[in-house]
């Protein structure tokens, strides 16, 4: 049995009064196994973020349902950790306090909180920055803290909504390697939304390609590149072949958007 089941999940936003409703997502069905790393790749506005928000419980589907470990998802919860594209660290808390946010909510003893926080701070390479406030950190450091904060909560599944979208290219590749390294050692189920083809291939065990709006799943492509993966994998012929294929898939969708516009 798969850990996460997305069953015919669709989302229609009501239009302005008198206008036509907007179909953001056509019914999508997707099964995610334990410890899968799945990237959802699609052009801007294809509803991939909407799908992720529905899994997180931050949005409710118009049709279908999401089931995690046999229980239907109705609201956000600590079992689904989320990293947002925007910087969502609490500005009034230090790096350490941000990472402990969810643990404190569980009323975990302070010593245990500190131990877990220290582990993930080291894991994302932020040792020495524990007492810093978010505004003094770079974008990459803020997102690393956000990843540590989500992981510290030990969620069943980690949801990432274009977490590196606002970062520069060099920082972005370093962050990809960092996250993949964590996944390789700690094993987690991950849903990762992106519009970047290279990022989608490099991170994934399986790439789910979505069509232009209204979004639906257009193709699923398994990525059989060996682990541990280093950035050098991006220059291998296997990687290039996958990239060529996905580029073609996405290009067709992007063209649809361009023609419609």
């Amino acid at each position: 049995m798969s850990a996460l089941a997305i069953e015919g999940v669709g989302r229609t936003f009501p239009g302005v009064p008198g206008g036509v409703p907007t179909i953001a997502l056509q019914p999508v069905t997707l099964a995610v196994e334990d410890n899968d790393f799945i990237t959802i790749l699609g052009p801007s506005g294809c509803g991939k973020s909407t799908l992720l928000r529905i899994v997180a419980g931050l949005d409710t589907p118009t049709t279908g349902r999401v089931v995690l470990d046999g229980a239907p998802v109705t609201a956000p919860g600590a079992d689904r950790g989320m990293v947002f594209q925007s910087y969502t660290l609490f500005p009034w808390l230090t790096v350490h306090e941000n990472i402990c946010f969810g643990l404190r909510e569980k009323t975990m003893p302070k010593a245990k909180q500190d131990e877990i926080a220290a582990h993930y701070i080291a894991r994302v390479g932020l040792a020495g920055f524990e007492q810093h406030y978010p505004k003094t950190l770079s974008g990459g450091m803020q997102q690393r803290t956000a990843i540590a904060r989500a992981l510290a909560n030990d969620p069943k599944i980690l949801l990432l909504d274009e977490p590196f979208g606002a970062l520069d290219n060099q920082t972005r590749s370093l962050m990809q390697e960092l996250l993949l390294g964590i996944w390789e050692t700690e094993k987690k189920t991950v849903l990762f939304v992106t519009h970047d083809i290279e990022e989608a291939i490099f991170m994934a065990g399986r790439v789910v390609v979505m069509s232009a709006r209204p979004g639906r799943i257009k193709a699923e492509v398994a990525v059989d590149l060996p682990h541990p993966r280093l950035y050098t994998v991006k220059t291998t012929p296997e990687f290039s072949a996958l990239k060529a294929r996905l580029t073609e898939e996405i290009r067709v969708e992007a063209l649809k958007v361009a023609v419609a516009a």
Binding site: P76, A78, W92, N153
Partner: protein, 244 residues
């Protein structure tokens, strides 16, 4: 430095107008007379006591208003139904001028301390409620969502996200409204009181002593400046994270 320069310029213009004989001494005392009258006030008429009673009234009424208004404002900012219930009335009440209540309050509460506190309370309460509600309601949506995905309950979100996020804006609101509370107390004291800075000013008006009136007004300004400074200093200490 530029700010101080204007104070100097202002005092110079005043001195020129009065010493130069452009304005009758009956209507505007010169700065030196003003200072001398000020000294007389302290030395002979116990002006320090007047200042103390006025400060007490402002702080008392303001603290009372804040203690009631901040929780209500937070509840309105956090829960839409509560906001829908109170907001129209509070918006209406906000435009009722506190000074217009003074005759009514004198009827109800006499000219004692209760009346002064009530004037300040009415003048401050509705303003604080609305501004706090807006500050809490303006909390970044994505921070609230992040807290929910970290397992926070609705109460946890109010306590650990909405409150700390709005705290600097709430403190700023209190600083502003305290300034207005000073206006209300003086008006209340001008109309019916037997002590306080406002009362001293009415007395001096009867004696055509513009030096004492101006001194009283300047004392109010100085106290306002000090309280403003203390508030700013406290905010910077309390919320270092909110500074750019």
């Amino acid at each position: 430095m530029l700010g101080i320069a204007f104070f100097v310029l202002f005092a110079a213009a005043w001195a020129a107008a009065t010493f130069g004989g452009f304005v009758s001494k009956t209507f505007l005392a010169d700065p030196v007379t003003m200072l001398r009258e000020g000294w007389t006030l302290f030395a002979k008429y116990g002006f320090a006591g007047d200042i103390a009673i006025t400060v007490w009234r402002v702080v008392g009424g303001f603290v009372l208003a804040a203690a009631c208004a901040v929780p209500l404002g937070i509840a309105m900012g956090a829960y839409k139904p509560i906001e829908a219930f109170f907001e129209p009335f509070v918006s209406f009440a906000r435009y009722l001028p506190a000074s217009a209540f003074i005759p009514l309050l004198i009827l109800w509460a006499g000219i004692g301390e209760m009346q002064k506190l009530l004037v300040i309370f009415i003048g401050s309460f509705f303003q604080i409620v609305l501004m706090v509600a807006v500050a809490v309601g303006a909390t970044r949506r994505d921070l609230v969502e992040a807290a929910y995905t970290l397992g926070a309950s609705a109460r946890g979100v109010v306590r650990r996200v909405l409150l700390p996020s709005a705290a600097p804006a709430i403190a700023e609101t209190l600083r502003l409204v305290l300034g207005w509370a000073w206006t209300y107390v003086i008006v209340a004291e001008l109309i019916g009181a037997s002590s306080g800075i406002g009362h001293m000013i009415t007395d001096s008006q009867a004696l055509l002593n513009t030096g004492q009136i101006i001194f009283g007004i300047i004392v109010i300004g100085v106290i306002g400046l000090i309280s403003d400074f203390l508030f700013k200093w406290a905010n910077q200490r309390l919320y270092p994270w909110s500074l750019a």
